[in-house]
Amino acid sequence: MVTLTAPETFSPTIGTAAAAADPTVLDLAASPVRELNQAVHNAVDGESWAVINPGGKHSLAVGINADIQVTIEGHAGYYAAGMHQKGDVTINGNAGVGLAENIMSGRVHVTGDASQSAAATGHGGLVVIDGNAGARCGISMKGVDIVVGGNIGHMSAFMAQAGRLVVCGDAGDALGDSIYEARIYVKGTVASLGADCIEKPLKEEHLAELAELLAAAGRTDNPADFKRYGSARNLYHFHVDNSTSY
């Protein structure tokens, strides 16, 4: 389902060993977003791009389908790295609503904070947010792995179907409401759990996958400090006795 990238192959800044060649620089103060996206759609495996002056513009580096590296030096608006399929996108700044929405595979890394609906409906791949994520982080996630260094907002992992959400800080209200089969790990406090979401035992297999996810995100947190949450599976079939849960 998910191919994890070892942390040492990843570099958050331009000019280090990660890029196979010098990155092609695209200045969004001078070029439209269309030019960036057409360029990354035309790109072939191994290419490297650096985007400067992103200015919080929307839909940066969306629909990438080649094994390339894109680094955005600054803040991104809505849907940065949306529907990401291959390669790495790094945002050295904050990201707006819907970061890496519907990501299929590959890796997206934000060094700052991400707004709401980060990695929404993601089917695979890894999304790393070093800072905090807003509300609805991992909403309707379908296989993506998300690692958040800080806190996440309310209604995160709402209707989460598959994948793993790791939170190194605290979680807001109604975590995992109406969750299906996704697994949630939180190190800090949970303000409240949503309908049908419960705390579950942290077994060896969970510690192992958590360790792997934390390592992939370049983090040193101790997996044993986390708690695991998931579906009680009481709402899988409608029953009149549960009508007040809806």
């Binding site: 977003v33 269309r34 996206n37 057409q38 759609h41 929307h58 839909s59 969306v62 629909g63 389908n65 608006g77 809505y78 849907y79 949306g82 529907m83 399929q85 609503v97 819907g98 929405e101 519907n102 299929m104 609906s117 929404a120 409906t121 089917h123 609805r136 909403i139 309707s140 379908k142 296989g143 709402f158 209707m159 179907q161 598959a162 109406s178 299906y180 089969e181 709402l235 899988y236 079939h237 409608f238 009149v240 009508s243």
Partner: protein
Amino acid sequence: MTITSVPAAAPAYNAQPQNIAELGLRESATFDRATIADIQRAAATGVYDIRGWGAKRKVPHFDDLLFLGASMSRYPLEGYREKCDTDVVLGDRHASKPLHLQTPVTIAGMSFGALSANAKEALGRGASEVGTSTTTGDGGMTPEERGQSKHLVYQYLPSRYGMNPDDLRKADAIEIVLGQGAKPGGGGMLLGQKITERVAGMRTLPVGIDQRSASRHPDWTGPDDLEIKIGELREITDWKTPIYVKIGASRPYYDTALAVKSGADVVVVDGMQGGTAATQQVFIENVGIPTLAAIPQAVQALQELGVHRKVQLIVSGGIRTGADVAKAMALGADAVAIGTAALIALGDNDPRYAAEYSALGSAAGFYDDFQDGRDPAGITTQDPELSSRLDPVAAGKRLANYLRVLTMEAQTIARACGKSHLHNLEPEDLVALTIEASAMARVPLAGTSWIPGM
């Protein structure tokens, strides 16, 4: 619903005396037999009734409009000899690859999951044969469907089941769904009986569970966000693919205007008679407005923004005949979409399955329990035995026949009104039979120049 929705202990309502009329019994208009059965069903089960189809209540509709044929002041066109074109271009406002369809009758979005793979294939075959489009649904794109559909519209729904950029790039158009006429404001539902391994796999869900899907999109709300979302989809598809916005008819004037301002190429307006695979009956019958009332509001919004015919309008919800097609277009639609009628053309509610409908507690012509997955006609089911009853080639042929009839009927009317293209039909060609239809459609009551409210 069917009487099988009620536990076996409940009395069957056909155990009544035959001579009700002779006994002088008076049926309540308020508590008619269907209403009484609804109350009994609710009392027995404690769960609301879920069913397929759209609103069954009688509402002002295309039947309440008539065409004024040509006479002294307008020339008719000769049938068969003089040209009456039917083609339509959809999505040329911003997309570099708009759709060019040979008939304005398209197939509405219906999911694999709600429908069998054979039914989806048949829809694709029938639509492709006459040069029109078919549409995916809440459950992703199947290879059968893509393979058999010349023009395939890929729905972008709140659940995003099976959504992926590869299929997005394969689509001939993208339809962002805000709602549907049967349930404006409602999410999707697919009950466990229909969540087979394949359906579950496509939707990333456990097999056999009741699927509840969201009613709002997970990463945008409102027109300002929608504009940004449309921008993202255009960037991913390199501005090639037309983008539709589908709304369930509730406030079509504002919704159409906002869809246009958000950058849609095409607006799809679905009235309350539009079908669903599974929705609460209370929702179907009580939320939304009739198709007839929705069209003039949507057209007014397009005209005021100066984009009528530039942003195309597709209307759905209760289209059955070529007359309905012609009336929708005369009111200002560029194209129409059919769902329920297309399923009937494939073989839904066929009297040849009368005995089996009866065994399910329903009857041919009434069967609407699409959520149960036990469709004798093999259309709204995932059961392999039932599905195999539908021959996709023969069913596709029936659909193509039906689409041709709709097109020829619409042409017949257009020629009678002196129009060389279906798009030349206009409100001027119409009158209304009732005050209600006159007010909703904004055409005069027949024999008068009166339009209530105008």
